[in-house]
């Protein structure tokens, strides 16, 4: 029996490639960065076609001392020598690691790995670690004396200041909403708990 197929098989590979080429070609998208677009819109577009969104590349944890120095340099947008100075690593040691592949002795890496660890974690939670570092005096002072704790504390201070906790206003479903506008704000009930009041509590 002959099947009337929509395509014919061929023994010539190049024909097969030509036939497949349209299948392998995906319509490219104009780059849309998720930053500055409302999250609910981003989620819809991501659900429609995740590849039509530009996603930032998360930092990769360095695996060698040389990479770690450059990792810190790139994150904080400072020079390599500034990193070496702050972390008490001699130029000669770094030169030996980078040029001759010498294995770093623990005593010669200074505060390199604790700082790398801290910055890696901070970078994963901070929208823009480099710009923050460039504008934060306390962070720069902490880094220059290789004080990891003080650096993390400076970032925490910034985060608390930037993302201030939202004060929840207790909902009252029996209240006339038009009347609420006339009630001075200081007289409205405020709760700081994240647990919503139950109906039983409201009736009391």
């Amino acid at each position: 029996m002959t099947i009337d197929a929509p395509y014919r098989e061929t023994a010539i590979p190049i024909d097969q490639l030509d036939w497949l080429r349209p299948l392998g070609r995906r319509v490219p998208s104009t780059s849309l960065s998720a930053e500055s677009v409302p999250i609910e819109v981003v989620e819809i577009i991501r659900g429609w076609d995740p590849r039509s969104l530009v996603e930032s590349v998360p930092p990769v944890y360095p695996t060698s001392a040389v990479d770690a120095v450059d990792f810190i340099r790139d994150l904080l947008m400072i020079s390599r020598s500034a990193v070496l100075d702050a972390l008490r690593i001699s130029e000669k040691s770094f030169h030996n690691w980078a040029r001759y592949g010498h294995r770093p002795r623990p005593s010669s890496t200074g505060a390199l790995w604790p700082m790398t660890e801290a910055l890696y974690r901070l970078a994963n939670g901070h929208p823009n670690l480099g710009s923050w570092f460039q504008s934060d005096q306390a962070a720069q002072e902490a880094f220059h004396v290789a004080d990891v704790n003080a650096l993390a504390l400076a970032e925490l201070t910034w985060a608390v200041r930037t993302y201030a906790p939202v004060v929840r206003v207790a909902p009252d479903f029996d209240l006339n909403l038009d009347a609420v506008a006339d009630v001075p704000a200081r007289r409205r009930a405020q709760v700081t708990s994240s647990i919503a009041p139950t109906a039983t509590r409201r009736r009391r």
Partner: protein, 282 residues
Amino acid sequence: MNELTSTDIDEFDTPLGGIDGLSRLRLERTYMEAAVAEVRFLPTNESESLPEDIAIAVWKGLGQTRFPLFERHSMSNFSLMVTPNGADSSVRAQHGWILATADRRSSITLLPAMVVVQTSNYERFSTSLGQPLMDALRLFAEETGASMIQRIGLRYINRLQDPLASSPLFWNDHVRPAFAGPLLGTLAPLVEGLHQQVQLRLAPTAAARVQSGVFREQGGEERYSFLVDLDVFREEALPFDGVLCANLTRQLNRTALALFCQMLSDQYLAELGPVEISEVEA
């Protein structure tokens, strides 16, 4: 004369694909979530990073006070290749720089072979996308030596919201039948969400991808919005020329607006507050 090299304003004001549309129009009552203009160049070398000194030169040219934020930026490109032996995908990272306004609502991304202008503060094409893109392209080409364009694209994300849209059915009167799909059929009362993707060939080297659909807004109140993701682009190798590039981008903008108008009913379009704009304003 090659039609693409003409600088005749009228010619590039005509939407591609013979689409009817109101090409000189601004809609007062829509909210543009994002507008993007992108130009991809033929890479001048194999580097996956744009050197810092080049980015700084472009930044200084554009105005450091206008874009006070200057940051590193990495972007991953996903590529998929289907062969007789199967599909092969890869992710390739490109490293560049991003210049942004203080509120981060407008930005210019510089990558080794790409310039992207994005804003969520769209006012009109010329001031929000057209001129910033042309300024950045001129400086980028001067500094990098990039001379061949491969792709020009415009993308608009528009969210149509209405306080009366308590059901997806609200939109079947406001969206034209071609984009309303199941909202017009027997299943319409059951529709909870809708997503449609249409690819259009507008010219031998120009195309559009239109994604649209209804979705439920987050929050307690039951409300449904209509989202339009409009991507209009030209893929063609062209020598970089500032005037030509400006004209081609403007033509894509006219086409995008014409396409957008094709999606909505005449009545709803009138409700969105169309305002005729002059050539200077456009």
